[in-house]
Symmetry: C2
């Protein structure tokens, strides 16, 4: 008997990270790393599914409300039916006409869609007893193509071309998997360079990170230009020229200002400039990319959907694609974007950090290497060393590389104790603070 | 004493329009026209502010939740302070870092921002005793520029250039106002051509509309190509070649499919093709526009923000700009987009219909003619003859033209009786139906 989905519940969980300046950047001075969880119960008592979308505090309650809005579209569905046609399943949710109006395919409803869709993939992978990367990699090219809704991207990639591309990558898969099992997947570190850190903290974090084996570092910029340069010089001084530095102003610049600012930071030799301006500005990114190369342009953590990524690729606007697995509409749309990136030969370096992001994006990067791009050059997963202790199967990172996750599922099941303790507004952590925390 | 904002309440109001096929199109087969209202009380007991965002049923409750999330940013604020720097006021809401993460500047949070911001403008205009168009038109160029947050659009228009453009338009304003008072503002009709109407209804609606003085008609397409052609031929037959026909497939086509479909409909000689593909696809619209001209490309009702409109204009992707005053982040962002459109010399034809849209967008078109573009050529406001009876000061349309609104404020105050009767899920209309209406 195929399990049926019986219940969808939504959970608002917030961590008071702004107390310590963790996660601070030029656009987001005081994030409280948070998540809206979707948890699915099924007719198989032992089988629950866990998905989430990442938020930074206020407004998480809007996302939980949106997750609940998907319940009538999910409850009663049969896992075998979903597995038989995952693309149709996805479109039945993403394409619900009344909910779609509120995006379309962007903003809160799309964030909630991600949580819900990812919870369903968690069910599918758990039922198969496999970590998600393994579950996806064991699908045939044809099955992978059937996961994707190609609506509005067929001018860049068709189902037939996607199948062809996946078939081209099939040889060597087993060897690539052995390689990842042995060496892990490359990563870079964000949590040394938050904008709220003072010089001593910055130096200390860099030294600790080098000690721990990190070779790629991201620094937040976009404050005062002189201060940006000062902080970047400190980091470059600490990490030396044999290690790699990336910069991230988190969207605060105008297009022309970005071009000028990157010029002024050239002496610290950055690999990329990330989110130099509005994440919606395809043409702006294209102009910046033309002006600042060989510095690369990276963006994607705020790209709402496959149509925006399609354009960034068509316009030759990005050198690194930073998809977010819970801002895109979940696994199905992530696969669409991995296929687009492979077609345009642009490396995918997923957005992570926050809470739960590292735990899930690792599955996508591994799947990308095994089945889609087949390459590691220029590819790495973001890492920030925060809040992993709250997960049942936390990410394992060693010497600057992600170890292959082994637990069955999608990877974001939070410990029941953490779900309760940090529940907003009634968990003990928030009740102590008076809950209506500013 | 300047009034202070004391309270923000949110209201979920839904009309069971799907019962009659009103509003049906290729993407949205069964909309229940709805709105999330933001109502502000002030320390001046006689002064309340009313704003809304338009929705089509399920999910409106997510928008009301998002409206409530803005309360802490609004309650306690002083109207004189807001009026002194409306741009800074807008950014303090749109730029709240934690809420911004959930867009940014798109989706549910941006829809809610529109409702809240527009309610504040309602307060300002009511306090001045003027309809919004008049309140805006009486601002100086410098004051108008101070309404706008130019973040992420300065590569297309700077504050200085905006001021210059507004100063160029100042002469002749009084004469243009007399002209509108005499003749009204041009409009086109959508409610004759819903996709759910059968042939007899379609013919009947066209005849009634011609009788009522309409000269511009929009027809929904995007279903089966043969059926599209059949329905368009019927409408063209009814309206003759001396009247104007526009087509709207509501995003259902791929880029190449759109080019082909417009070719196949060329014989009915449409003025424009509206929303031919994904509203996020700037490059796709540009390709379609190049291929189908002299048929124009129109889009905008789903364009989330000024950055997307900037790109549609920069890429020469649209011939008609259809902003929506409650999908953009309210009056301030509408002004930004009017300025961009004027700078690129593209006519603005606002999205209306639904519920409350006609009531408010008329203010923007009038303001555009008086102060921003100074032109009427190619410009008209959408009109659909639904649900106006629920408003305290409903739109007045005569012989296919909007009459200048006279009541003070923004125009979307709903009658208390309607707010109560159609309240979801507890109003009598919904309770009768068992409320959890599918």
């Amino acid at each position: 008997m195929s399990p049926r989905i019986l219940e969808l519940t939504a959970h608002d969980v917030r961590f008071p990270t702004s107390d310590f300046g963790d996660g601070s950047d030029a656009m987001n001075p005081d994030p409280d790393y948070s998540a809206a969880f979707a948890i699915l119960k099924t007719s198989d008592e032992g089988l629950t599914g866990h998905g989430m979308t990442f938020t930074i505090g206020r407004g998480t309650e809007i996302c939980t409300r949106a997750i609940e809005a998907f319940a009538p579209l999910l409850v009663g569905r049969d896992l075998d039916d979903i597995e038989a046609d995952p693309g149709a399943f996805w479109r039945s949710l993403a394409g619900d006409s009344q909910l779609r109006w509120l995006g379309p395919e962007k903003g809160v409803v799309h964030l909630a869609l991600a949580a819900v869709v990812n919870a369903v993939w968690d069910l599918l992978a758990r039922r198969a007893g496999k970590p998600l990367w393994r579950y996806l990699s064991d699908l045939s090219p044809d099955q992978i193509v059937r996961c994707v809704d190609f609506r509005h991207i067929t001018d860049a990639i068709t189902p037939a071309r996607a199948r062809e591309l996946l078939e081209e990558r099939a040889p060597g898969r087993a060897e690539r998997q052995r390689e990842l099992e042995r060496d892990g997947y490359p990563a870079y570190l964000t949590s040394a360079g938050w904008i709220g850190y003072d010089e001593e903290t910055l130096r200390q974090r860099c030294r600790e990170a080098i000690e721990a084996g990190w070779s790629h570092f991201k620094v937040k910029v976009g404050a005062d230009p002189a201060d940006d340069l000062r902080r970047c010089r400190i980091v470059r001084e600490e990490i030396g020229h044999e290690r790699v530095l990336m910069l991230d102003p988190n969207q605060v610049w105008e297009v022309d200002q970005a071009i000028e600012a990157v010029g002024a930071l050239a002496e610290v030799d950055p690999l990329w400039i990330e989110e130099p301006t509005s994440p919606d500005d395809v043409l702006g990114h294209a102009r910046i990319a033309r002006a600042v190369r060989p510095v690369g342009v990276a963006t994607g953590e705020h790209c709402a959907n496959r149509v925006l990524f399609k354009q960034l690729l068509q316009a030759d606007a990005i050198d690194y694609l930073q998809l977010d697995g819970c801002r895109l509409g979940g696994v199905n749309e992530v696969i669409a974007v991995l296929l687009l990136a492979a077609e345009f030969d642009v490396p995918v370096c997923p957005h992570a950090g926050g809470v739960g992001l590292c735990e899930h994006v690792q599955h996508f990067s591994v799947f990308d290497y095994l089945c889609v791009s087949g390459r590691l050059e220029g590819r790495m997963i973001e890492f920030a060393d925060h809040l992993h202790e709250h997960f049942v199967a936390p990410v394992r990172v060693e010497r600057g590389r992600y170890r292959l996750p082994q637990a069955a599922g999608y990877g974001v099941e939070m410990k029941a104790e953490s779900l309760a303790r940090f529940a907003w507004p009634d968990g003990p952590v928030w009740r102590e603070r008076g809950s209506g925390r500013p």
